[in-house]
Symmetry: none
DNA sequence: TGGTTAACGATGGGATAACATGGGTAAACG
DNA sequence: CGTTTACCCATGTTATCCCATCGTTAACCA
């Protein structure tokens, strides 16, 4: 499982060290590396191991062969996905177009999301985080996670990040 | 699996380098090359390895021998498909009619789509690419990954194409 | 417990092989 | 006999591999 957030450097050749935890997730597959594609939702990258790609492929092959959505997904995901293999030190080389899409400038933030991960420019990710947080606050009623309830006594005062 | 998008040149002889990743996918078959035919959906080419052809053959042979659709598929795919073998440098020579169908003019864009690939004029593909991305964004809900269940119904090497 | 050392992960740079591409020549085809 | 197709070699560019360095963490020893 891809977990946690890591900030690594992107050198002049576009190389970036994949966090060791992430490498351990994909270790064992026939393809020793990760697969990365530009998100079609924003200026960041999405990635995973080959197993993730095969899950997408299974999903897509269940769709009608001439479904417009199927063709769109095939082109948006498979067409844009780059297989990036690890070098001896656990790095991958990001192609120029991926670096540009995510606006990476010397640094990249790996964000683990369980079955996949995201790659962000640190600055954009911070911004995205604050927006995500306020979105969560605005929608907290729909975010009830578990039957466990806080049972009062918790200071409802805004804890620092007021807006 | 055919992945990623590559832009290669088409010289005066109609030769184009097949991306090395793509060559690796079809490597090992008895026929050392790719099979390409004009799409009946638009001005581009479709292609794959021999394994893909055999899949199509199996699909079509399940249809009624006198089904009009079967005849149409046979003519549109098998009748128009050209086996293009690699030269020593990994290139194929595109016949004139394929170049004209896809309106290739010095450049060709290989688009990997998992079990097959497409060949486009770069300008024409750019347009379809943006449309595919926005369509995918609007319909992403239909791509939800279901929680992986242990009883996977198919072996991991799906589709017969090598990794 | 404090200090030292070995191991792992991350980073930087240079050498080398792979890839894409161009042109030329010989064989095959009509 | 002319045209086309296949094969061969040469070259620039790019990506891949290999080695060295450095910081951090974890293990080990006194």
């Amino acid at each position: 499982m891809f977990l946690s957030t890591t900030n690594n450097g992107v050198d002049a050749k576009g190389r970036v060290s994949v966090p060791a935890d992430f490498r351990a997730v994909v270790r064992g597959g026939v393809f020793d590396g990760i697969i990365v594609w530009p998100s079609f939702e924003g200026p960041y990258l999405e990635g995973g191991g080959q197993a993730l790609m095969e899950r997408y492929q299974a999903l897509i092959e269940d769709m009608d062969p001439y479904d417009e959505a199927r063709i769109a997904f095939e082109r948006a995901i498979f067409g844009a996905a780059k297989p990036l293999s690890f070098d001896a030190n656990g790095r991958v080389t990001l192609p120029r177009e991926l670096i540009e899409h995510a606006q990476l400038d010397g640094k990249a933030t790996f964000v683990g999301l369980g079955s996949r991960f995201e790659l962000w420019s640190p600055a954009l990710y911070a911004e995205h985080q604050t927006r995500a947080r306020s979105f969560a606050r605005d929608n907290k009623k729909s975010l009830r996670l578990s039957p466990r309830r806080p049972s009062s006594s918790r200071p409802s005062s805004s804890g620092g990040d007021a807006s």
